[in-house]
Symmetry: C2
Subunit: 293 residues, 2 copies
Amino acid sequence: MKINDLDNIAILGMGLLGGSLGMAIEKTMHQVTRTGYSRSLSSAEKAKKSGGLDIVCETVPEAVKDAQLVVLCSPLGTFEGLMEAMADHLKPGCIVTDVGSTKVLPRDLAKKILPKHVEFLGSHPMAGSEQQGVDFAMADLFEGANCILTPEKKNKVETLKFLHDFWSTLGMMVCEMTPAVHDKTVAAISHLPQVIAASLMNISKEKQMEICGKGFLDTTRIASGPEGMWRDILMSNAGNVADNIDRMINELSSVRDILRKNDDKKIYNKLGKARAKRSELLKQKLRTRELLS
Amino acid sequence: MKINDLDNIAILGMGLLGGSLGMAIEKTMHQVTRTGYSRSLSSAEKAKKSGGLDIVCETVPEAVKDAQLVVLCSPLGTFEGLMEAMADHLKPGCIVTDVGSTKVLPRDLAKKILPKHVEFLGSHPMAGSEQQGVDFAMADLFEGANCILTPEKKNKVETLKFLHDFWSTLGMMVCEMTPAVHDKTVAAISHLPQVIAASLMNISKEKQMEICGKGFLDTTRIASGPEGMWRDILMSNAGNVADNIDRMINELSSVRDILRKNDDKKIYNKLGKARAKRSELLKQKLRTRELLS
């Protein structure tokens, strides 16, 4: 299938991502009929009202039966049930993808549950917010952000090309890696920061936080993310996340030892290295226009 | 001295804070003559040009000789030299304060170096940015932020009142604690986050960061702060910061163990507690209007 042939998409799950996806499709591919299912019917109705969906379905089979593309936009913990509910109702040649934050689990579930006449290829649009729910959906949520596709050998080249075009049309910068490499990567740059932000909140005393500045608030911003979604993400990538926590503990231990030894040169070098690395990172983000969105 | 009697202030150090202080005084107390000294003469000249200073002095004695209030706005590591340079040139009754991020060190230096006929009382305006230098100075940098005064028994009530009025006039919310309590508090809510942000940057791989999202960038924002300033801050509060790093390591170890045991309930509880605490914190910040600035 080519991107221009797409005229029917099913979006399962109507939170921040599902709602934003519907709105973004309307903006960039307005010929596409958007059918939606959500465990919470009122979220789907809200999405329809605000222009995020064309048709609201009360069951999964109904939502997917005419779809050329199905996108799972609900928390990872719901994927198994959704795949089981859709398996017998997908059209031959249908492409199934998801927006889950880990990619080994959805790949394994798809292999186990989905029929041979459909093709699964996972996506990870790295867009979002610490806010949750369809009320915060935005048509431009995906613009300028990265999207990781996680093809494997068995995936067809044209399916990869189709999904590449799909996310690019929504304004995303698309790259590819295997599900295993993806999960190792996001453990380091997304799941570890989440654990760090939550841990810093959890050890901080209310009385002391009363006088905290913007630095503390920024460092802990993502700790305001929904615990159900993040539990699913962390549990589905537990080994990689635990390994990265160990790396962080080692680094913090080394800084603590330097402080206890009053070694101002080593502290200066650590801080200087961090500042230089972040400066390079910001330059790279500006070059790739990510920060212009 | 009452705040309305203030007509001559010396600002020593002309970076982000010194420059912003000059501009803020012009805006709120325009009768005050602002004399400035900076190790970098060009920074002081820049500040004068952009309305942050009235008079630029090339030496410390010249800058402080007529001042009723002296504010040290340079990095903590320069305080000893500045106090030695000013000690013999301060007017009797002059009030000396500083904007340093730790308060035990300035108190100790003042006790050792400054003459008996002046009074030292440390301030910590909790405003700033990861940007450095007078080029980033802003007249409204202090508005809506917290300022901690660190009086001790020997301080006069009227001096405390004077500094309270001074920072309040600049739009700050002023509170008080001893230098020792201050340093313990900021170790937890400011210096620990700084170490965490720098450590997360230092263990992150360039290739992996290429696809990082806004969460990573926010969590590490303060790692872009100047290493010289932060070295001085961390070294002057090393014991307290090391203790807080140990608390963070304990919490991270506990999360790692939970992940290794696949205990999804405990992870959910940790994440939920963090989200709830941050939600309360944001509510408190909105109540005290800090986030409206």
